[in-house]
Homo-oligomer: 341 residues x 4
């Protein structure tokens, strides 16, 4: 039986694992019960929690849940193993290399209905996104017509050496690593797509996965969406522009540890009314500024709450993960074209 | 034989015809020799030049050149007629309803090698574009990898009544009317595309042509491009982001008579060098502001110069018009999907 | 007796005179009846109205009103002369070289109560200003606490040759020529000042009047204001920040013929309420964009209306002119300090 | 004799004391040897260093240096006491309540030439400031003509309860607490002022010290400067605009723990050359973005280096502190005017 404190193990103690350790320590109903990452023993030491040489031992120790923060190719095996042992599982995104990886995880979840399985799509909890969602759901902007998303980062001079660009480890390139968040947000705002066309290319780096991908999509209702996911955006860039019948919402900038995506802001504009001739093409806009990112804590909090109260996961479900991976798999049907310089 | 003053007739005296009249009057080697637009006799009166009830009479009067500023469906007939009578021809864009229209004009041009035929792609002469082009051609940003263009306007409350949205008159919707400029700029920067995928929809207006179109394209070299052309952009928007190996150029805002697209600016960013760790994701940027739009005068000047010195047209050739129309025709293969509210 | 069309003469046909000619021609109840500017005969010719060699003849011709667009030193004599002959008078700003100049004009007005006298403080009619005024008067921002104004231009390489910097012609430097508008706006928002401290300097140009002035002021109520008026602002700059009890209003950019001050915008921010902890220091803001400047037409319209309906002038009165000149005279008590390089 | 590790005690463990503790722990040549703050025993506990009930005991323990982070009124006594005991002293700003306080500290320093005394004017080490300083010193912008500084914060709903607004504890209001940094930066860029005029008021809060102050200043050379220091700036605001002969530098935004002042940026503009007619009033600008604030560490590093290598303090000297306090004292000659609502 579940005590009121959730004992959590973390597998993988890189960038994300370290963020998760802090989230758990900050959560009143969670306790960090062990960490496993053979390559980072020294960093883990300072946490003052049990360290496990191999992740199976951590899973089999006295814990209630695991957070899987490993490279993509390990996620399915670990998640499946843990769920079979009745551990609740939090998978960082991208949740695997491809649709089959997620399918395997999803099947394990269905086999063990008592476990909670959540995927880390933290962008849904960013303040600019949650405010935009609330405003749109209020109906004051009318229905959504179009989505335009750009998510770009500048790959560093050692970008080609990252495991994220090793196809057997990661399963894909920038679209799977970063663009997936924007696709998940698209789904968050308009649901599923019935038509998907994409292209991808290797334009600047000596790697085997795409460093740029452009995608266009349409929902059954007829809404159009467009994504550019790029690793050659020398200026870090996050911008989601949502066009509605009576106005628009633009989220740009993204709170992050380094601040490199710029201040997160939400701009709301409303289509001028028929008698505002002067404003045609220039609606007045409202801008909201955000300096504090609660997304990581909200996400962990949602996981904890669903475990403690035995409620179904609502944001970051396996269905969300499956569906977004389906989009990526579809884009990945297109060949990767190497740029010819 | 050509005198040193070019006598020009204007056919169609709407928004563009009036701009062209001013351009001609401002040009020292041109003379406005007549105007024909049966529906606007009163406005033409004030010009103090001969008025022609029908355009054939104007073409057959003592003029050297005509500027065709009519709705799209009339352009081919007039242009062909005028070239057969050895008049130089300036066609406003969009230069017809479809590829066949332009092909017909192009054939007439080939049949009369003495005439100069130019198409009005004035955006190539906007200061932000010409400066970006010069900087990129200097090589300091390296080769172009990606293009991202958005061109949007907010259709007014009477948008459904415009001839631009009557398919038999215009041949298409916002992509043909406005997006065409961005596609022409794409070609200006990277040349031809070998792969084109598009979608179009009718999302907000009660019209028979698309009010939104999203397009992705790839050149033979492997460069990727992406366009969103929209008539539901309640804020007028022009933004072209050019991603290069060593930096980027962003043209945003667009000088126009009403100012509604905002001040035209060009931003140049350069990828930080390996030793600028602090700047990763945040390159320093240079911003250039433009308050004066010389594009219309440059375009007319180019036409005049090619006529007077019997030189081939360089910008806005029939090949440019054909090729951009080919792209649009390809996108127009896709069905128009009505949004289902 | 006044007919329903006001016959107007313009004295001085420089930058401002030409704007005024257009305003009059655009006004249905006004008629341009003559222009006098010996140095610009050619430009006036094209207007197709009577040209007067000397301004007295124009004043004495069959006209109802004159607009005085001459250099400052001529304004008082012309205005007084015209009022004595019962002509309504529109004086461009700055309305003279100093307080005595305005006093002389004001006395002539008092002596002829039938004439309407207006001074050209068109900034009060700019859309950003009128909207800010309306919002503040609605009370939703609470009372005004502080004003911060910057008005700057970049003097050109021939700045030292301008009559505006010849003290016997102009009476003063940038504060009198441009800063006066901001001081007039200060008065428009908070009324009179009881304490005024200023400094002025000649920092960059070889001229005899100030090219920079800084001024601080206080109203009887205790509101604080601050102005920087500069001719060494290489970027043209207009910015008025109004701090209120419950928020603020910022007008920046200024619509002008050349666009060089940037798009005019009004930003309204509201102090976060006690329960909006996250927003402390970062209130959400509303931005309004303006692309059309009606100020010149409104001003001429106000003049026309007051004449036709025999109503007192409300904006741009001689009292407004006197009071703003009093502030400048007080700042001009301070010595001009030449920068020592 | 000085070992190669400097043992440091911190007196006062509020906002600044906590920042300083982190700085010291991050510095390889420093060791946190004790903290004293009777009111914050619990927070200090977690540091795992000796806690002192009273600050004298900490000063007299085996330490080399103290950092004084107490409210203003305590600083002089502690600093003087510590220097008499040969402790190096780091005083947070504002370094006292008034000129006499600093004079007392300065006298103690002169009496003990072996001790290093530094004042915490960390703004000089902000990246936007240091880059601007370097660019100006390179000479490419020419000499400085004008300075315009705004430093504003929005006092919270409990602002009247802060010790910073209790005159006997703090000695002054927002000018002394926050504006002092801008005045110090003014001095950093142009040196001393020979003419100072100021006003101050209590406009919004129920406090006994100023919540707004406006100041104008002139150097002996003739440069003009202007400051607005405000506690009623509901949007947090830091902006320093430096006008030069051949261009300008604008630092706006300020890196801080909460991010509320916005991203720190430096904009450099250059006066267009005589042949760039189109750019008059709109110079191209270079923008540099900063996301990382090294100022605290640099400052502590400078202190450590001067101690270890027995070099004189260069930035944040007692002369700097004295001179900036002299300016404030001069402004404080002006009466505080309560706004009359």
């Amino acid at each position: 039986m579940m005590s009121s404190t959730i004992k959590v193990g973390i597998i993988g103690y890189g960038y994300m694992g370290q963020i998760r350790a802090r989230n758990i320590q900050a959560h009143s109903a969670m306790e960090l019960a062990g960490v496993s990452d053979p390559g980072r023993a020294a960093e883990i030491q300072s946490l003052n929690v049990p360290v496990y040489e191999n992740w199976e031992d951590l899973v089999n120790s006295d814990i209630d849940a695991v957070i899987v923060c490993t490279p993509n190719f390990l996620i399915p095996e670990i998640a499946v193993y843990a769920m079979h042992r009745k551990r609740h599982v939090f998978c960082e995104k991208p949740p695997g290399r491809n649709y089959s990886d997620i399918k395997m995880i999803r099947d394990a979840e269905l086999a063990d209905p008592g476990v909670k399985l959540i995927f880390g799509f933290n962008h849904r909890h960013h303040p600019g996104i949650t405010d935009a969602k609330a405003i749109i759901e209020s109906g004051s902007l009318g229905g959504i017509l179009t989505l335009r998303g750009v998510y770009g980062k500048g790959g560093g001079y050692d970008y080609h050496t990252s495991w994220r660009n090793n196809i057997s480890v990661s399963g894909g390139g920038i679209l799977l690593d970063q663009g997936i968040h924007m696709l998940d947000l698209f789904r968050y705002f308009v649901g599923d797509f019935v038509e998907i066309k994409g292209m991808r290319g290797i334009t600047a780096f000596n790697i085997e996965v795409e460093d740029n991908s452009v995608v266009i999509l349409r929902t059954a209702k007829g809404q159009l969406a467009q994504l550019h996911s790029s690793a050659t955006s020398w200026k870090h860039l996050f911008r989601l522009e949502i066009g509605c019948e009576k106005g628009y919402a633009i989220i740009s900038g993204l709170l992050s540890k380094t601040g490199s995506y710029g201040r997160e802001t939400l701009v709301i504009g409303r289509r001028p009314s028929p008698n505002e001739k002067m404003a045609v093409g220039n609606p007045r806009e409202e801008t909201i500024y955000y300096d504090h990112d609660p997304s990581w804590d909200i996400e962990i909090g949602h996981f904890a709450e669903c475990i403690l109260e035995n409620k179904p996961i609502e944001k970051g479900t396996s269905i969300d993960a499956l569906k977004v991976m389906q989009i990526i798999d579809e884009v990945y049907q297109a060949p990767i074209v190497h740029m010819n310089k």
